[in-house]
Amino acid sequence: MVMATEEILSFEEALEKYDPVLGFEVHVELNTQTKMFSSAPNAFGDTPNTNVTPVDLGLPGVLPVVNRVAVESSIKIGLALGCKIAEKCYFARKNYFYPDTPKNFQTSQYDDPIAYDGSIDIELADGTVFTVEIERAHMEEDAGKLTHMGGSTGRIHGAEFSLVDYNRAGVPLVEIVTKPIVGAGARAPELAKAYVAAIREIVKNLGVSDAKMERGNVRCDANVSLKPKGQEKFGTRTETKNVNSLRAVEHAVRYEIQRHAAVLDSGTPITQETRHWHEDTRSTTSGRPKSDADDYRYFPEPDLVPIVTTEDWIERLRAELPEPPAERRKRLQQDWGYSDAEFRDVVNAGVMSSIEDTIAAGVKPAVARKWWMGEISRRAKVADVEPSELGVTPELIVELNSLIESGKINDKLSREVLDGVLAGEGTPTEVVEARGLAVVSDDGPLLEAIDAALAAQPDVADKIRGGKVQAVGAIVGGVMKATRGQADAGRVRELILQRLGVEG
C-alpha cells in the first residue's frame, strides 16, 4: 500500500542502525465562548467571515484584549502536564506576511511561556510507561483558513485564487512543546500516537477543548531525527506538519524514520525542512526549508500588558482540575470489574464516560457495557458518528433495561423500541404501546404457533422426542418468526418441550 515517493528503508533495518529522537508540537484549540483577543464567537462551521470583529480582521486602529478564560484554560493545561506556571509572562509578536494572518503577525508567546518544565507518563498498550518531558505550553492565536481554488489538487500550487475565512483567525490556541524524546526505539511510532492521544484526552477531560482532531481542535507537528546507534549528538530533524489523526501520527513517524534511515545510509545529510503528510500514499513530501534561524522578528507585544498569575489564582484553578484520565480509568475498571481486554475495548470505543453515566443512572456495569459496546456502537458505526452523539441517554437505557427485565419486551424488541425512541415517538413505554411491541405472553396464540411449527418440521419434532433436546432451537425459531419476534423465547421453548412431553 505504501507508495513512497522517496527511497525508504524497512523499519526493522532502520531501527537496527539508528535511534530515533522525537519531538512534538501539539496545537490545542480552546473551546472558549469568544476568541483569544476579541469578543467574536469561537465557533466551528459557521458561514465564512461571520465570526469576526474589527479586531479579528486586523482593521486599522484595533487593539487586542486577552480572554481571561483562555488564560485559565492554558494554566489548567499547564497544571495537568505537571508544568510550572510563570508568575509573570508576556505576549510577543511573531512577524510574517501571510494572508491568513490578518495583522501579518501572530500574537504568541516567545521568551516566557505561561507554562514550562512539565512531564507526563504515557502508557503504551502493553503497559510500558514512557515519561515525556514537556518543555513549554504557550498561548497564541489561530490563523484564518485558506481555500485554494481552481487547481486540481486543492493545494496552493496550481491554484488560480484563494479564499480566506477569518472565522478561525484569533481562536485561542495552546501550543504544547515536548523536549526531545529519546529511547523509544522501535516503539517510537506507537509512542507518538499514544502521546498525542494522551494530550487529546487530557484537554478533553479538562473541558478546555472539544479535542476533535478531525476538526483541527488538536493538531500535531511531529519532529523526527535519527542518530546512529551509540552516538550522543542528535541528527538533523524534519518537522511533519499538521498530522491530524492518531493513526497518521503513528504512520508519519514511522515513515520519516524509514526515510531518514535511507537518506543517511546513502551518505546524504538530512535537509532540515518541514514535511507534508499525505494520507493517501502514507508518505511525506518536502515542504519549506526550516532553519532554527527563521527570522520572525519576535518582540514583546506592546498592546498587551503582562499576565501576572497569583498563587491564589493558580491554586483555585488547581482545585478545579478533574481527576486525571489515567487515574480515573484505573478506578473505573476496578469499580466495574471489567477484564483488561473488556476495559480496553470500552476505552477504544470512546464510551467509557457514557457507561459511567449509565451505571450511575441505575443499571449494572455488565448491562451498561452490553448496550454501549453492542447495539449503540453498531448504530454509531452505521451513522458514522461517535456513540455518544446518537442521543441515547442513560435514562433511556435504564428504562429499556427495566422493560426487558420485567419481561415486557425481549432483546430483539428492545432494538425496535430504541428505533422508535430515537425517531421521536416518545418514551420506551409509549413506543411499546404505540407500535404494539409487547412480548406475547398469552399461551393460547403461542400454542397455535407451536403446533404449526411442529407440523411444518415433523422430522425435527421426532428428533426432540427422541431426546435431542438441542434441536428445539429450530422450532423456537419458527415460532418467533411466526409471532414476529413478539414472544418470550424462553417461554416458547418451555411450551414446545411440554407439548412434546420431553424434560427440559
Binding site: 522578528r297 506592546p302 500588558v305
Partner: protein, 523 residues
C-alpha cells in the same frame, strides 16, 4: 460670527448653555471659516475631509435636546476637529496615506464614541504626516498643511492639521496623537496648546497605531482650560485598550481653574536647552521661568543625563513597532490593492500595494524597524534601546524627586520653511528632541504658547512635564503661566497672528495684529 469662532471652547460652551447662541450657529460659523481659509493653493489645508452634514445634524440634535431641557454635557454643541489617524464611522480615515485612500472605518474609536456621547459635532478630519511619521505634515500623501502664522512655513507634525485648524480658528478644539511630540511640537510652532496625557490615560482604541508603546491621543486647543475640558471628555479607562489605566483621571478642569504655583518646585531640565536651541526660543523660555518665579514657584535645575540618548533610542523603538503595526496594510482585506501585471501571486500583490501605497518616510521607518528587530541585531538595537528607555524613566524618577513639574522649550526652533528639511531626515527628527523623553517614559506633557521669537516673530512653545498620572499638575501650572503671559501680552498670543485672506475677510481678521518683528516678550 467672527467673534464666535475666536471664542475659547469654555466661553463657547457657556454661550451655548445660556442659549445665547445655538450649536448649529456655532458649528456653521466654523464650517464657514473652514470654507473660507482652508482650501485653495494658499489655504491652510488643515482638513482632509469636512463633515458638514453630520456636524450640523449633531448640532441640531443638541439644540433640540437643550430646548427640551435635557441634561447635556458641558461641551455639548462645541465643535471639534479630529486628526485623520483616529477612525470615525461615516467619514473616511486615511492616516494621511494613499494606502487608506477611500477607506471608511466600520467602527468608531473610543474617543470618538466619547465625543459623540458628549454631543460634540465633528467638523472633519485633519491632515497629518503619513501614519503620523514626521514633524512638519509635509509627509502627508495629500499635500502639506500651512502654518497660519506664515503660510510658507510648516505647522509642525505630525498633527499639523489639528494645530493649524485650531490656530486658524477653524475649530475651537481638536484631537491629536502624540508618539514623539506630534501634539506638542505642532502646538509650539502654531501658538496653540497641546497635551500628551499620561500613557494609558486616554484609550488608544481606534487610533491607527504607529508605535503602540509610545502613541497617545490628546487634546489640542487655544487655552489650557479648553484642553483640560476636552481631556476629561476623552480620558479614563477603556476595556478595549489593555494598556488603559484604571485610575481616575484626576480633577483636570478644576486644576486648570484653580491654577496656583506658589511653593511648587519647577525643574528646568539642564539637557533640554543650550546648543541646538534657537536664541529667541531660549529668551522666551527664560521669561516664562521668571514669570513663574514671580508667582511664587521655586525654579530648580535638574539633570537628566540619559535624555541625550532618547532620540537615538526612539528612532529604534518607534520604527520597530511601526514595522510590525504597518504590516497589516497589504491589500488583502481593506484599502489600496495594486495587482501587478503578469502572474500576480499574493507576495507580488502585497509588494506592489505597499510600494505604491506608502510614502518614502513610511518606507524608511519600516525598513529601519525591520532591520532593528532582525535576528542577530535585535539585542544590539531594539534591546539596547529598551535599556535606554529604562534609563530615561530613571532620569524622570530622579528629577521628580527634586521637582513637582519639569519645564523646557517644546521644540528647539520655531516653524521652519516648507521644504527646508524635507530631504534631511535627521534634521527633521531633531525637532522632537525635547518632546520624545516624555513618550519614552509614559509621562504627561503640555505645550503652551510662550510668545514670539524675536528673530522671526514666530511662536515659541513652553513644555511642562509631570509624573505619570499627575496630568492635573500640568493644567495647574499651565493655567498660571498662560494667564501671566497673556497679561504681559495684553491678550492671547493668537490675537497677534496675521489675518488669513484679509482681502476677502476684510475686517473679520485679527484687528490688533502687531508687527511680528516686535512681538513677543514681556515689554
Amino acid at each position: 460670527m467672527t467673534e464666535l469662532i475666536r471664542l475659547s471652547a469654555a466661553a463657547l460652551a457657556q454661550k451655548l448653555a445660556s442659549r445665547e447662541i445655538s450649536a448649529v450657529e456655532a458649528t456653521q460659523a466654523h464650517l464657514d471659516r473652514i470654507a473660507h481659509v482652508d482650501g485653495g493653493d494658499d489655504g491652510v489645508h488643515a482638513f482632509l475631509h469636512v463633515n458638514t452634514d453630520e456636524a450640523l445634524a449633531v448640532a441640531a440634535g443638541v439644540d433640540k435636546a437643550r430646548a427640551n431641557s435635557e441634561e447635556l454635557h458641558a461641551l455639548a454643541g462645541v465643535p471639534i476637529a479630529v486628526k485623520d489617524l483616529i477612525v470615525t464611522k461615516g467619514q473616511p480615515t486615511t492616516a494621511g496615506s494613499k494606502i487608506l485612500e477611500g477607506w471608511h472605518s466600520p467602527y468608531d474609536a473610543t474617543v470618538i464614541r466619547r465625543l459623540r456621547a458628549a454631543g460634540m459635532p465633528i467638523l472633519g478630519k485633519t491632515n497629518l504626516d503619513e501614519f503620523a511619521m514626521g514633524s512638519s505634515t509635509e509627509h502627508s500623501a495629500y499635500g502639506p498643511t500651512r502654518n497660519p502664522w506664515d503660510l510658507d512655513r510648516i505647522p509642525g507634525g505630525s498633527g499639523g492639521g489639528s494645530a493649524a485648524a485650531v490656530a486658524a480658528f477653524e475649530a475651537p478644539l481638536a484631537l491629536g496623537t502624540d508618539t514623539g511630540g506630534s501634539i506638542r511640537q505642532p502646538g509650539a510652532v502654531t501658538g496653540t496648546v497641546g497635551v500628551k496625557p499620561t500613557y494609558g490615560g486616554v484609550s488608544r482604541y481606534g487610533a491607527i497605531a504607529m508605535a503602540s508603546s509610545l502613541d497617545q491621543i490628546g487634546p489640542v486647543s487655544r487655552t489650557v482650560l479648553d484642553s483640560a475640558l476636552l481631556h476629561e471628555v476623552i480620558g479614563g479607562h477603556d476595556p478595549n485598550d489593555s494598556t488603559s489605566l484604571t485610575d481616575p483621571l484626576g480633577a483636570l478642569v478644576e486644576a486648570a481653574r484653580l491654577g496656583n504655583v506658589e511653593g511648587m518646585r519647577i525643574g528646568v531640565i539642564k539637557e533640554l536647552q543650550g546648543e541646538g536651541y534657537q536664541a529667541g526660543v531660549l529668551t522666551r523660555f527664560q521669561e516664562s521661568l521668571e514669570l513663574l518665579r514671580g508667582a511664587g514657584a521655586e525654579i530648580v535645575e535638574v539633570s537628566c543625563p540619559n535624555f541625550e540618548y532618547a532620540l537615538g533610542a526612539y528612532y529604534l523603538i518607534m520604527p520597530s513597532e511601526a514595522s510590525s503595526n504597518l504590516a497589516k496594510y497589504d491589500g488583502v482585506r481593506f484599502g489600496l490593492r495594486v495587482v501587478p501585471d503578469g502572474a500576480p501571486t499574493i507576495e507580488r500583490v502585497m509588494g506592489a500595494t505597499r510600494a505604491a501605497g506608502f510614502g518614502d518616510e513610511v518606507k524608511r521607518r519600516i525598513i529601519l524597524g525591520t532591520y532593528a528587530l532582525s535576528a542577530g541585531y535585535y539585542a544590539a538595537y531594539y534591546g539596547s534601546a529598551q535599556k535606554v528607555r529604562t534609563l530615561i524613566q530613571r532620569d524622570f524618577d530622579n528629577a521628580f524627586k527634586q521637582a513637582d513639574v519639569l519645564i523646557s522649550p517644546t521644540a528647539p526652533t520655531t516653524a521652519f520653511k516648507l521644504g527646508e528639511k524635507l530631504n534631511d531626515p535627521l534634521a527633521m527628527y531633531l525637532n522632537d528632541v525635547a518632546t520624545i523623553p516624555a513618550n519614552m517614559a509614559g509621562v504627561p506633557g503640555l505645550s503652551l504658547p510662550g510668545g514670539l521669537a524675536d528673530e522671526d516673530g514666530l511662536p515659541v512653545g513652553i513644555q511642562l512635564l509631570a509624573p505619570a498620572r499627575q496630568d492635573a499638575r500640568l493644567y495647574r501650572v499651565g493655567a498660571v503661566l498662560e494667564s501671566l503671559l497673556e497679561a504681559s501680552w495684553g491678550g492671547p498670543l493668537l490675537d497677534r497672528a496675521p489675518a488669513l485672506r484679509p482681502d476677502v475677510l476684510g475686517s473679520n481678521g485679527a484687528a490688533d495684529r502687531v508687527e511680528t518683528s516686535t512681538a513677543g516678550g514681556t515689554n
